[in-house]
């Protein structure tokens, strides 16, 4: 019988976790003052503004590139960077900033893409994905089983076995591991130094334990839950330092054996375990999943460890990026507990939907058992950890610009219709998609020799064994993702033209162009006329039909063939992170009433305020639209729900939300990002972020301190929330 009870913290661990929470707020406050806003999650780094690091370029262009140079820089960086130890934490170390803030690690000019491709990307404001980093995930078990010493031995074994003509791969990877061993030794030394000065016996003892644990981990694999957590924290430090990676793994399942062994040995209590996990969260906000199906689909993975992870998240009350993989048999208590925590104080998880993700992934030709292991380890994206190079979330195919150029084409034509406009839109969308595919071919050819994944290579099956970067055959599964954006912006624009110009005849094409050219200045009534149609998300709307049509073409453009040269597999997605303001920043006014440079729509979601007439806003209205407009091949197109806490805190509120999550899963949705907020607190925090420094919100697939976000990002949350009420 699975123990699902809440962990009761003893005063010692409660105080330590509270101390970590307070320290996180202080660290965050300093970061905000020195850096300004952060439009990502907390990232966990401790900023040392005075730290200096010498870059040693190895290319005439002044950049650093390739295995050896990058490995050398990482080793030296890990050796030199300050060793942070927090006396309230069970673990030592923290990262300080990405190495790329100190070193220009780049692509050699001779390996860059042709000028014409760059011009195309510029014309359509495309985020091409070429040279994108990370966005893949390792299997942390590889490291947990071998330790840093074992990883070094493995590298040396395969170096000798393969005896490559150019051993740069192994040189670089060895330096990374040696750098980590030096870093861990440094952390241990710092813990001992602090222990010598510590007068509090409990704190002294904790620092000694951190020092001893790290001394062990320099060479050896972890033996206990605490050591496993320390290994993970160091992995997070390294992963963030080199290119801000954020992917972890199926955390509950990877830690479960350590937990069970320690409990059986009588050296671990649940509140200690909560403290360990809270310390991992304090260290960083890497993405991980809990629960989900076993590969054979026979049982749910929820364990006592899953509950401990939730309780740690709830106890420390800082941004944490945990997803629950929802399926019909997911542990009911786990799901309910997660929602209760979200309602209580925003320390919740997001919900990765198994049906949309697994059935979608299968459509790419993969077996269902493999699809079940494709877990959520990014803000919106999933990966078969250790086996797949999925490169998601690094592209943006801005369909708003495809529409813009289609409008420029049609204004010079004598026959104007939405049918003709759609033809032109498809032409431009295809150009955008094809240009990204061309860039991916180049990416595949040159990344290994320029910016190899020297961290993830260590934690994947194949790269070390083959001496190949994971992007170029190191792993067996290569997928390249293209994310389309502005679906609702474009669908609403088509619907507005069809309704107001073609069906009702209220304005002409020329009048619309005049209004667009003037950015609607002096044409407010036309702007409102175009805006206030039944927009995407409204039942039976023209815009809904356009959204499906646009989605279908976009998916076809991505999917009907791979990249032109190497025939690499493409998986289409519809996702925009939180960058809807940035993505709209160069886009002129659109026929949906959007003015110059205003944000575009997010993901495949309806725009805020889409519900009108007798169909007022409801979470299900939005959820239905998002589920039905999925790209459908296993990459997430998330649903964001910002729900008034007052509604959910009443009896039956949580039950309704559980029903909504399961139903969205069954309707083909892929990810649910949930905020439970009160209007009062949100508006107060927007007005004066310092008033609520610990208000946690879910921006998209990641959580963040509301106060850390820029005004644009805060406004997105406000718009989403308030549009449902008025």
């Amino acid at each position: 019988m699975l123990d699902t009870s809440k962990v009761v913290l003893s005063p010692l661990y409660r105080d330590r976790i509270n101390g970590l929470h307070e320290d996180k707020l202080k660290i965050n406050d300093i970061k905000m003052k020195l850096i300004g806003h952060l439009n990502f999650d907390d990232w966990g780094f401790v900023y040392y503004p005075d730290f200096k690091f010498e870059a040693r370029p190895n290319h005439p262009s002044g950049i650093v590139c390739g295995y050896r140079a990058i490995g050398e820089h990482i080793r030296r960086f890990m050796h030199e960077m300050p060793k942070y130890v927090n006396v309230n934490s069970a673990l030592g170390g923290a990262w300080i900033k990405p190495i790329t803030d100190y070193v220009n690690i780049g692509i050699a000019p001779e390996d860059d893409v042709p000028k014409e491709l760059k011009e195309c990307w510029h014309k359509y404001h495309t985020y091409p994905g070429f040279a994108g980093m990370n966005h893949c995930a390792g299997d942390i078990n590889i490291g947990l089983e071998l330790g840093w010493g074992g990883l070094l031995k493995k590298l040396r074994y395969y170096r000798e076995l393969n005896n490559p003509a150019d051993p740069a791969f192994y040189d670089g990877e060895e330096d990374v591991v040696l750098g980590m061993q030096e870093w861990i030794a440094g952390v241990s030394k710092e813990a001992r130094r602090m222990a010598a000065e510590e007068t509090d016996p409990d704190k002294h003892q904790n620092l000694i334990e951190i020092a001893e644990m790290n001394e062990w981990l320099i060479e050896n694999p972890p033996r206990t839950l605490r050591e496993a957590c320390q290994f993970i924290a160091h992995f997070q430090t390294l992963d963030r330092t080199y290119y801000v990676g954020g992917a972890l793994d199926q955390l509950d399942e990877k830690l479960r054996p350590y937990y069970e062994r320690d409990v059986a040995a009588g050296i671990l209590t649940d509140d200690m375990a909560v403290w360990y996990i809270a310390s991992v969260f304090f260290n960083d906000t890497h993405y991980s999943q809990i629960a989900g199906l076993t590969p054979d689909g026979s049982r749910d993975l929820t364990s006592r460890m899953s509950f401990i992870i939730l309780d740690a998240m709830h106890a420390i009350k800082i941004p944490v990026n945990i997803a629950i993989r929802v399926h019909d048999g997911v542990n009911k208590e786990l799901l309910r507990r997660s929602l209760e925590y979200t309602v209580e104080d925003g320390t919740g998880v997001d919900y990765s939907c198994n049906i949309g993700i697994e059935q979608g992934y299968k459509k790419n030709g993969y077996p269902e058992g493999l699809a079940r292991t494709r877990i959520k380890v990014g803000c919106n994206w999933c990966c078969v950890c250790g086996h797949e190079y999925p490169l998601q979330d690094v592209t943006r195919a801005n369909m708003g610009f495809a529409l813009y150029w289609a409008l420029q084409d049609i204004r010079n034509e004598s026959e104007r219709s939405t049918a003709r406009l759609f033809e032109l839109f498809c032409k431009h969308t295809q150009i955008i998609v094809d240009s990204i595919k061309q860039g991916y071919d180049r990416h595949y050819e040159i990344m290994g020799r320029n910016r190899p994944e020297v961290v993830y290579n260590l934690f994947m099956y194949g790269p070390v064994e083959r001496g190949l970067n994971c992007s170029e055959g190191g792993v067996d599964i290569l997928n390249f993702n293209i994310d389309g954006v502005a679906l609702a912006t474009v669908a609403d624009s088509f619907a507005a033209i069809e309704q107001r110009i073609e069906k009702e005849g209220r304005i002409t094409w020329d009048q619309m162009f005049e209004a667009l050219d003037a950015n609607y200045e002096g044409y407010e009534n036309i702007r409102l006329m175009m805006k206030n149609i039944n927009r995407f998300g409204s039942p039976d709307s023209l815009a809904e039909d356009w959204a499906y049509k646009i989605r279908d073409f976009y998916v076809w453009a991505c999917k009907h063939e791979g990249t032109p040269k190497h025939h690499l597999m493409i998986i289409p997605g519809l996702f925009s992170h939180g960058t809807v303001a940035e993505l709209g920043a160069r886009l002129p006014a659109t026929p949906n009433g959007r003015k110059n440079y205003e944000p575009i729509s997010h993901s495949n979601e309806p725009d805020p305020g889409f519900a009108a007439g007798i169909n007022t806003f409801a979470p299900t209205l939005k959820a239905n639209a998002v589920a039905q407009a999925q790209p459908g091949f296993g990459n997430s197109a998330p649903l964001h729900l910002d729900i008034d806490t007052d509604m959910l805190s009443k009896e039956g509120g949580i039950d309704a939300l559980i029903a909504l999550i399961h139903t969205h899963n069954h309707m083909g949705g892929t990810l649910i990002n949930l905020n439970c907020l009160t209007e009062k607190k949100l508006l107060e925090a927007h007005e004066d972020p310092s008033k609520h420094p610990d208000l946690l919100v879910r921006v998209t697939g990641y959580s963040a301190f509301f106060a850390s976000l820029s005004k644009d990002y805060r406004q997105q949350i406000i718009d989403r929330f308030l549009s449902k009420k008025y």
Partner: protein, 300 residues
């Protein structure tokens, strides 16, 4: 489905407080009570009405051009005035108001259209034990339309609830009882004179219907709007009635001010503008009264 029309003003999906589970609540136009605390004053007239939000008006003048009833007037100071007596509810003006300053309340729809909207959320009803709730206004005043909707929903296996104040002929209840799974029955006062003062009508017929429904074995949730200064003194007597009726549940609905803005938009006077929301302690006292009478009660 044979064509059957009705007047509604809102379809609210994922409603979690109008019966069990996640529900779609369909709000009917028209009510024969005039409760002083009504938070849906737009529901009372049976015909369509317009709401006016002057802060959204961009002064385009389109509504003046299209209105043939001279409803829209310009005051000497330039303000946009509305002559509501002249309004026939044609809603031509709201069609041209892209700014959303004029919003229609009420729309004539077919039962087929409403059922189609309801059935889109069937998966949510199935996973939550929810269904559809017909509310208002007074849904039972459009008995043919309501009966049609209930029948069609029943055919599709959708759980049905009717939220009613009960002030309708007994035959109406007889007609819909076979196709209604749950009644959400309002009890606003026990004393008939108090009831008339608060709602404009006596309550003999209402209570008679409630007793009859209970005798038929209908599943009933009683809903008690609680406005301390208006019906607070009625709670003991209401508890006595409910101890006889024995509803499955009694929900106490504390007065709230969410309807305040609507009064202004409709050009109406909010008779409860100085009323405050009852405290948790006051609500708890009412719950205790009900529970002491053997009634299963909770706060809504």
């Amino acid at each position: 489905m044979e064509i059957c029309y009705g007047n509604i003003f809102n379809i609210q999906r994922f409603s979690v407080h109008d019966g069990p589970g996640a529900r779609t609540t369909v709000f009917f136009k028209g009510c024969n009570l005039h409760c002083v605390w009504c938070h849906n004053p737009e529901s009372i007239p049976s015909k369509a009405v317009i709401e006016f939000y002057p802060q959204k008006c961009i002064g385009c003048g389109e509504c003046f051009k299209v209105c043939t009833h001279k409803v829209h007037l310009i005051a000497p100071d330039g303000d946009h005035l509305i002559d509501r007596q002249a309004c026939e509810g044609c809603l031509t003006c709201t069609d041209t108001c892209y700014a959303g300053a004029l919003a229609p309340v009420g729309r004539k729809v077919t039962a087929e259209y409403v059922v189609k909207q309801i059935e889109t959320d069937i998966p949510y009803y199935q996973s939550s034990g929810g269904g559809v709730t017909f509310s208002g206004g007074e849904a039972m005043l459009q008995i043919e339309f309501l009966s049609k909707l209930l029948t069609e929903c029943r055919k599709k296996g959708i759980h049905t609830a009717v939220d009613t104040a009960g002030n309708v002929p007994r035959e109406y209840f007889e007609k819909i009882l076979p196709v209604t799974d749950l009644f959400l029955f309002d009890v606003k006062a026990a004393d008939s004179e108090v009831h008339k003062m608060l709602t404009g009508v006596h309550n003999e017929r209402i209570l008679s219907n409630l007793y009859w429904l209970a005798d038929q074995g209908a599943r009933i949730f009683v809903r008690i709007p609680f406005v301390p200064s208006r019906n607070g003194s009625e709670m003991e007597a209401i508890a006595d009635i409910l101890s006889e009726i024995k509803p499955e549940l009694a929900e106490v609905i504390p007065y709230h001010k969410l309807g305040a803005a609507k009064y202004a938009a409709l050009g109406l006077i909010d008779q409860c503008h100085d009323e405050s929301t009852p405290s948790d302690e006051e609500v708890e006292e009412v719950l205790t009264i009900l529970k002491n009478a053997g009634v299963n009660a909770r706060k809504s």
